[in-house]
């Protein structure tokens, strides 16, 4: 593109102004990256969840427990291929500030249910050998420096040991990784058989909720209804939803973060649109005699339009890409809050949104000045200078 030097040179005409414009676009796109990461963090990875998993909980709330015996009955239901259960432990590691989710699970079944949790085969075997063993996700392991073989005491808050104590002690037998950027690797999971054996007698045989894998996601509503009907009018009535809907309901309890972020983003975008639109408009106005000279030399109106658009594209694309790249890098360093946002990454689809914003910004800020330059009448513009 032989006109590129002309375009770039023109941008450097007023260096300070161009630099300030670039900086504001740059900062705006870093902000965009962070907002996108925060948005997906509050989405709890909903978008990554498979469509073929259902969650079955007590009809009243997640806190109410369900009998362990439902497992066999659920496995027998047509269309359900695999079942496991899970119990919220909600304990404290040393200090209540150290928050990470602890779950009581069936080791093999749990990792089979969640293939996106990647646990090396030999670590799973080591865990199966040790009833007091636990497995922890990479994020939490890194945060607290857990290594395989470490002994980790967790104090129960509402669970008690049969012997009256409240502190369970576990040995780390494995560390799992996430299959994707957004996979939750903050969980600390340990064995149900050990837990059930050691907890107070009154609670034995009760679990938190069930996860069901179904053969055909299309049949999810039908199977959910069938299962709930099966347990209706029993002491433990159930409510079954897809895992997606379950998580979304959970995320919505935090508040409509998405709407707030969208509003912030719109304000930011509007501001940089004004900044760079003003830069372009001013720069074109100052150079009207130069555009007239170019036209005198034979540059067509259309070419002049393209040159001005080229300037606004160069500005937006350079500053915007630099901002996105910087955001990507900073976000890849991990959760800035030190634990509040465990799933913190730059969602790739938001990169596409960012790129469209860059193009939109270039178009909107450049179009009107470009049309103005295109329409400029040579004789008038030369006379005015």
């Amino acid at each position: 593109m032989k006109f590129l030097p002309l375009i770039l040179r023109s941008l450097l005409r007023k260096k300070t102004r161009t630099v300030f414009t670039i900086l504001s676009i740059f900062v705006a796109f870093i902000l965009f990256g962070y907002l996108a990461a925060i948005d997906s963090a509050f989405g709890l990875g909903v978008d990554l969840v498979g469509e073929d998993r259902l969650i079955l909980q007590h009809k009243v709330s997640l806190v109410q427990l369900l009998p362990e015996s439902y497992l066999r009955r659920l496995e027998a239901v047509d269309g359900i291929i695999f079942v496991t259960h899970c119990t919220w432990f909600g304990g404290v590691y040393r200090d209540p500030k150290n928050y990470f989710p602890q779950l009581v699970v069936q080791p093999e079944r749990y990792f089979k249910m969640y293939p996106e949790f990647l646990l090396p085969e030999e670590q799973l075997s080591a865990w199966l050998e040790d009833r007091t063993g636990a497995v922890v996700g990479r994020a939490t392991a890194q945060r607290y420096g857990f290594k395989i073989g470490d002994r980790v005491p967790i104090q129960g808050t509402f669970w008690r040991l049969a012997d009256g104590g409240s502190t369970w002690e576990f040995t780390i037998r494995g560390i799992y990784d996430g299959a994707e950027d957004g996979t939750d690797t903050t969980q600390f999971v340990f064995r149900y058989d050990y837990f059930d054996e050691t907890r107070v007698a009154s609670a034995k045989g009760l679990v938190g909720w069930y996860m069901l894998r179904i053969r055909d996601p299309e049949r999810a509503p039908e199977i959910a209804a069938k299962v709930d009907a099966m347990f209706a009018n029993s002491f433990y009535e159930t409510k079954t939803t897809t895992e997606k809907a379950f998580l979304r309901g959970f995320a919505n309890q935090i508040g409509n973060i998405g709407a707030i972020l969208t509003a912030v983003l719109a304000a930011v975008f509007f501001t940089i649109l004004l900044v760079s639109g003003n830069t372009m408009a001013q720069s074109v106005r100052e150079r009207s005699s130069e555009f007239a000279v170019l036209k005198t030399l034979g540059f067509s109106d259309g070419l002049v339009l393209l040159l001005v658009l080229g300037e606004s594209f160069a500005l937006s694309v350079f500053a915007g890409l630099a901002g996105l790249a910087t955001a990507w890098y900073l976000i890849s360093l991990g959760d800035p809050t030190g634990g509040v946002l465990p799933i913190f990454y730059f969602p790739p689809e938001k990169l596409v949104t960012g790129l469209s914003f860059i193009i939109l910004l270039a178009l909107l800020s450049g179009l009107f000045p470009a049309i103005q330059a295109m329409r400029l009448r040579i004789a008038d513009a030369l006379r005015r200078s």
Binding site: K2, T296, L297, G298, F299, D301, G302
Partner: protein
Amino acid sequence: MNDALVQVREVHKVYHRGSERIDVLDGLSLEVPEGEFLALMGPSGSGKTTLLNLIGGLDTPSAGEIVVGRSSLGTLSSASLASWRAGHVGFIFQFYNLLPVLSAEANVELPLLLTRLGRSDRRQRVATALEIVGLSDRAKHYPRQLSGGQEQRVGIARALVTDPTLLLCDEPTGDLDRVSAEEILDLLEELSREHGKTIIMVTHDPAAAARASRVLHLDKGRLSRESGT
């Protein structure tokens, strides 16, 4: 059949300023044969720039016809007028009108960006044009690093680089001191004599006009021959 390079026939140019009507050119006719060096004189506001703009296709007459070479300008669209200018006319301005952000050679190269010439051909042409105006050693300089006379020579090189037949100069020495002005006039004379360019030069300066092969006066919208006033 008339074979003058530039033919201006019965041209009118009217401007409206509010309710006021200004007849700048009032049925003006002019013929400029190929190779002529013509000087146009006249008081300020008499319409010299207007006429030059019309001949260069920068503006359109209110009535009348302008033919340059084989092109009747009134029949061309704005896009084809632009490409016609690129190939046939070179403009030289009183205030040089160089792009301040480009070096001398990049300024001279501008008209060539519109051609199909490759990079090395363009460089070659730019070097030749700068050599003709005697500024080969200032190629990398920016306009603000040049004197007025040097800037004007870059302006002339830019007008020359596409090798147009017609050069239109609007008070090319109007902003220069005597010595620089003489140098520019020497250069224009050389372009006329040795390179066969047809030149129409607007000027206030009788000494400048004296260099031309013919001098015309523009007054009250019409032309008259130089009468030695």
